[in-house]
């Protein structure tokens, strides 16, 4: 009986995996309190005396929303040889710290956060004496420390002022993105500020801080625009050093700009529109419908 049980389980250094059910038999140890005592590689994430809810929330934040899930439920694209993976800690700063487990690669990280591994030199920031990896597939050690982009630009170019923002739940959406750990850089369009958004995106991207864009306004197949006639972004000339991982662009024909904004690689999130966007009531415009806790290593 015991032999039959083990015959149906696959194992690695830290956990048993049930291929038939596509999940771990035990919780992912990367998020467990006290795991550092076993592996010597992970900092405990809870304090003594914390209540059970706090432990559960905090540990699941590290290992993902569900500690039993195998590589983010995406086994086609990811492997998890040791039962561990990158630790990303989004805490609202312009950049977020990211620490690999032994053997992790930048390509693994790119898949988790939706950025393009081919552009890693443009978005990855080595810190604490860590060298830039020579390739996205180079195995890393637990001594390597990095920072990743963590800023979401929220740009309002819609109409009706506070009524318009209430209609599309703008304030709630901005708060939601902040609670997920992003640094939300909120702007409201000023009249005759031509190409303001494009300049903002390029500067944030060059600083390796830009992770995403949340936009409400007007557009056509070539531009994002304001109603009063200001161009905000021209898709053809928006040449970002690296493409973003998150794009929620609520404007007419914004799908025309998808490839200019987001990486389109595994893990990236895009919501755009083809044709005329009419903000009907009771529709799902809130970011919670597109990026949920745990996705892209958020809280």
């Amino acid at each position: 009986m015991i032999g039959l049980l083990f015959a149906t389980l696959a194992t690695n250094a830290f956990a048993y995996y049930m291929p038939g059910q596509g999940r771990w038999l035990s919780r992912d140890p990367i998020g467990e309190p006290g795991f550092a005592l076993v592996s010597g590689s992970v900092t405990p994430v809870t304090q003594a005396g914390a209540d059970d809810d706090a432990i559960s929330t905090e540990t699941e934040r590290v290992g993902g929303e569900n500690l039993y899930v195998f590589v983010g439920n995406d086994a086609i694209w990811y492997i998890d040889l040791l039962g561990l993976r990158w630790k990303v800690d989004r805490q609202g700063g312009g950049k977020a710290p990211a620490e690999p487990e032994a053997g992790d690669t930048v390509a693994d990280l790119a898949g988790l956060i939706g950025l393009n591994p081919a552009e890693y030199r443009n978005w990855l920031t080595p810190v604490s004496g860590t060298a830039m990896p020579t390739s996205a597939n180079q195995g890393l050690t637990t001594c390597d420390k990095f920072e990743i982009p963590n800023t979401v630009v929220a740009y309002w170019a819609g109409d009706l002022g506070g009524v318009g923002r209430w209609w599309v739940r703008w304030n709630s959406s901005v708060r939601y993105l902040g609670r997920r750990g992003f640094n939300v850089d909120e702007h409201r369009h000023q009249a005759e500020n031509n190409m303001a958004l494009q300049a903002l995106l390029v500067s944030k991207d060059a600083a390796k801080e830009l992770h995403g864009l949340y936009f409400w306004g007007h557009g056509n197949t070539q531009f994002l625009a304001s109603r009063r006639g200001d161009a905000l972004v021209e898709y053809a000339t928006l040449n970002l050093p690296y493409k973003m991982g998150l794009g929620l662009v609520f404007a007419c024909d914004s799908n025309s700009g998808q490839s200019a904004f987001v990486s389109g690689t595994s893990g990236s999130i895009w919501r755009g529109f083809t044709g005329v966007l009419v903000p009907w009531p009771f529709r799902h415009y809130h970011p919670r419908h597109y990026i949920q806790p745990g996705q892209q290593e958020t809280h």
């Binding site: 819609g158 318009g164 007007h218 056509n220 531009f223 009063r228 006639g229 021209e234 966007l277």
Partner: protein, 143 residues
């Protein structure tokens, strides 16, 4: 007005004034040559016919414009866009019912150069400052 009608009216008004509508772009093309020309947008694919001393509106966002003359000559004017000129040259209209539009007016002279006109003007003179990149010479295309 009862509560139901008021609710419907509010919804319709907010829908009409909604915040995510299309921005239509156009070029008002004035023909300053003595013969008829046909103007087409490489971006929208639309073609218009413009008689001498008249103007017509060409749907065009950005990119190249082709001008064909009566004697079968073709000229290409590159990178024509309302958003690439100073806002004082543009005419922007915000419609209460969703769509907004942005346009600017150009004048084709007999030297096959495109000049930008200030809104409401029909001619250029020495005092009319041209935006950066204008007047724009037409590149003659061979058959």
């Amino acid at each position: 007005m009862n509560k139901r009608n008021l609710t419907v009216l509010c919804c319709v008004t907010l829908f009409a004034l909604g915040s995510g509508c299309r921005t239509n772009m156009a070029v008002n093309f004035r023909n300053g040559t003595p013969s008829k020309v046909w103007v087409s947008s490489m971006q929208s694919g639309k073609e218009i016919e413009v008689a001498p001393s008249r103007f017509s509106r060409l749907p065009h966002g950005s990119g190249d414009i082709l001008v064909k003359t009566e004697n079968k000559q073709q000229f290409r004017f590159s990178d024509i866009s309302a958003f690439h000129v100073d806002p004082k040259y543009r005419e922007a209209h915000g419609s209460l019912f969703g769509f907004s539009s942005v346009a600017f007016t150009v004048l084709l002279q007999t030297n096959m150069h495109l000049y930008v006109l200030m809104p409401g003007k029909q001619t250029v003179d020495e005092n009319t400052e041209q935006p950066k990149g204008y007047p724009k010479p037409g590149q003659k295309l061979t058959e």
